[in-house]
């Protein structure tokens, strides 16, 4: 009885989570001129065809991917450096630093967006530029991705044996080389997770991008602007493609993690 209840609960939970996506995918294949979301008119790939002909959507997608890649790489590098720095701080400065970096995560997005816009407008005027654009978008995205990267790298640093780095130096390895040879491989899983997180956060961000985009358009902003008329089924098609891509990405990550367990786990197993 209890088990059936638990099953039902799980089923309902997955239904709520995935039913909308399923409906979206099904209606991306709907063959009606009006692009109906309630009447089924047969199977077709016309919205996919239209999607790949639509220059504006593809440009927006191109912008979004470009920004996401740069923001992910940028915030990962900065975030990893910050995490290493924070790790080697004394207790109280470290606590203060952690709070400062966590603040943007709990801060409402709209506040971050508006304040970044004000800052960028001020800076652009000061430098004699005319308009916000790609540059300000990338800067904004790196800013809000940073705390997530730090948060995913720090635990890996904590798990690492601090003596390893010193041992490498004792054996004559210069500090930079010791970092790349010893520390980096240890914390790599955290870095990769942080980077993927930053990438996905950057792709679907709307609020902050909306305020800092100037005359550049990202995909979420473009989709939002379609809502005066109604959201065209092209967007269903695009969402299906994106959902598929993210799914594949997640699968790859999971398989990867299963294959190569972090070295400390292996070590624990060995000592046991």
């Amino acid at each position: 009885m209890k088990k059936a209840g638990a099953r039902l609960y799980t089923f309902l939970m997955f239904l709520f989570l995935y039913a909308p996506i399923l409906v979206l995918i099904v209606f991306s294949f709907n063959d009606t001129d009006t692009g109906s979301r309630s009447v089924w008119g047969g199977f077709s790939l016309r919205w996919y065809q239209k999607l790949f002909e639509d220059r504006l959507i593809l440009e927006a997608l191109c912008n979004t991917l470009l920004i996401a890649v740069i923001a992910a790489v940028g915030s990962t590098i900065l975030g990893t450096m910050a995490a290493i720095g924070i790790r080697s701080m004394k207790r109280i400065p470290r606590r203060i630093m952690m709070n400062v970096t966590n603040f943007p995560m709990v801060n409402p997005e709209i506040v971050t967006g508006v304040s970044l816009m004000l800052l960028f407008v001020f800076a652009v005027r000061l430098l004699g530029g005319r308009s916000l654009g790609m540059g300000s978008l990338i800067a904004a995205h790196i800013t809000f991705c940073l705390p997530y990267v730090i948060l995913s790298v720090l635990p890996k640093l904590r798990q690492m044996n601090p003596n390893l780095y010193e041992a490498a130096q004792d054996l004559g390895c210069p500090p930079v080389k010791a970092f790349f040879k010893v520390v980096l491989p240890e914390i790599l899983p955290g870095i990769v997770t942080g980077m993927i997180m930053a990438f996905t956060l950057s792709i679907d961000d709307f609020v902050i991008s909306y305020f800092t985009s100037g005359t550049t358009q990202t995909l979420p902003i473009y989709i939002y602007s379609m809502t005066r008329k109604r959201v065209s089924p092209e967007i269903n098609a695009l969402s299906t493609v994106l959902f598929g891509a993210v799914m594949v990405l997640l699968l790859i990550v999971n398989i990867r993690q299963k294959k190569e367990k972090p070295s400390w786990e292996k070590k624990e197993e060995e000592t046991l």
């Binding site: 009606t32 001129d33 009006t34 109906s36 979301r37 309630s38 009447v39 239209k50 790949f52 002909e53 639509d54 220059r55 504006l56 593809l58 440009e59 997608l61 191109c62 991917l65 470009l66 890649v69 816009m117 960028f120 407008v121 652009v124 005319r130 308009s131 916000l132 300000s136 305020f211 800092t212 985009s213 100037g214 005359t215 550049t216 358009q217 902003i221 473009y222 939002y224 602007s225 379609m226 809502t227 005066r228 008329k229 109604r230 959201v231 065209s232 790859i252 990867r256």
Partner: protein
């Protein structure tokens, strides 16, 4: 593994970028200028389904690059302009926003010598009430608000009063924005849409409150789905957007009520901050070219303010009363202009009253919340008692 990733992304990239910069035959030499155009979402022919790619064609003919971006409402356009972070050269707001921008000095005067195609704009669209001397704007599209109804359930519609008909209770849809909704009530009352008389707005609001129990939902674009599936029978909407419904469903028809209706215009303007006014005027001129306007509107589905452009439309569209109502109908229309601050505040608060319903409903809401709270508290008390009993 990681290399696979990078490779995949690079390929994806090359593919998309490749798509975005194709089709460049016999182009005019690049002039090294990019203009920023800000228009409504899905409001230009973009080359899909065999239509003309208007922006690409402009670049091909003039050598001016176009950075084309889109907005979802006049208000977001306004916030973008007022925020100061964006540098637009051509914007296409609706009539009341044009008048607001003019009042606030945010538009620059057009040099009509650079826009010779303005000659094709029909007389009724010149010197409109939102831009009385026609110094700042060039109409891009226009349309009227009418009533869509399902002939299976609704025999015919000739008056706005049909949206108050109790036979259709629960099958009526209404606009989910204050100006459009109030306009319907105001036409029933026979007063101006741009009145500043408080009493007239209050009268309209009480009429809308009267209608509220009959209304299934206050919606915008969901009208399409609800009308198509037969979930709703009668709904007001913009002629241009919803023409596709009438074309595809025999049982859905469109009527313009006899009391008159609201007509709207979206017009091209140049913000005062633009640094490429000359090129922006070239773009506006290009949009007014009858051939381009015709091909553009053929895709967009709205009406063109140029008779000359109708030659490039399909004849069914050019003669359809849905797209081009008779002059007699047009004589009974009125466009929005920007309302003074105090009036628009009043409208907003009245609209909130209409949508919230009377105090009775908010009482129900409070009761529900209290109920939940009560259940929550009793669960906590019960658990605590249980724990105490176990401790003993």
């Amino acid at each position: 593994m990681k290399q696979c990733f990078t490779l995949g992304f690079t390929l994806l990239f090359v593919f998309f970028c490749g798509v975005s910069v194709s089709a460049k035959e016999t182009a005019a030499p690049d002039r090294g200028v990019t203009i920023n155009v800000y228009n409504w979402g899905e409001y230009i022919a973009n080359g899909t389904e065999g239509s003309l790619d208007v922006n690409a064609e402009f670049t091909r003919r003039t050598g001016i690059q176009v950075n084309y971006t889109t907005f979802d409402s006049n208000e977001s356009l306004y916030s973008k302009l007022a925020g100061g972070g964006a540098d637009y050269d051509v914007i296409i707001p609706s009539e009341y926003m044009v008048s607001k921008l003019i009042e606030e000095g945010m538009l620059s005067k057009l040099n009509f010598e650079n826009i010779p195609n303005f000659q094709y704009i029909d007389e009724p669209f010149r010197n409109p009430n939102y831009d009385p001397d026609n110094l700042y704007s060039v109409p891009y599209t226009w349309g009227v608000v009418g009533v869509f109804y399902n002939t299976d359930y609704v025999e015919s519609v000739d008056s706005w009063a049909d949206l108050w008909n109790e036979d259709y209770a629960g099958k009526i849809l209404m606009f989910d924005n204050p100006r459009d909704a109030f306009a319907i009530a105001q036409f029933r009352l026979g007063c101006s849409l741009n009145t500043t008389e408080e009493s007239q707005w209050r009268e309209a609001a009480s009429l809308l409150k009267e209608q509220r129990p009959l209304v299934q939902a206050y919606v915008m674009d969901q009208i399409f789905d609800k009308m198509e599936s037969g979930e709703a029978w009668i709904a007001p909407y913009y002629s241009g957007d919803a023409a596709i419904l009438v074309d595809n469903h025999e049982n859905i028809r469109f009527a313009i009520p006899k009391e008159g209706t609201n007509y709207f215009v979206d017009a091209a303007c140049i913000p005062i901050t633009s640094s490429h006014q000359r090129e922006a005027e070239e773009y506006i001129n290009f949009l007014c070219d009858p051939e381009i306007a015709g091909a553009n509107m053929d895709y967009v589905g709205y009406s063109t303010p140029e008779t000359a452009a109708k030659a490039y439309l399909s004849p069914e569209v050019a003669q359809s009363p849905l797209h081009y109502p008779t002059e007699e109908v047009l004589a009974r229309t009125e466009a929005f202009v920007n309302l003074p601050e105090s009036t628009s505040k009043l409208v907003d608060s009245l609209w909130a009253e209409v949508k919230m319903g009377g105090p009775g409903e908010s009482f129900v809401l409070v009761a529900i919340i209290l109920c939940f709270f009560g259940v929550y508290v009793s669960i906590i008390v019960y658990k605590r008692n249980k724990r105490k009993r176990e401790m003993k």
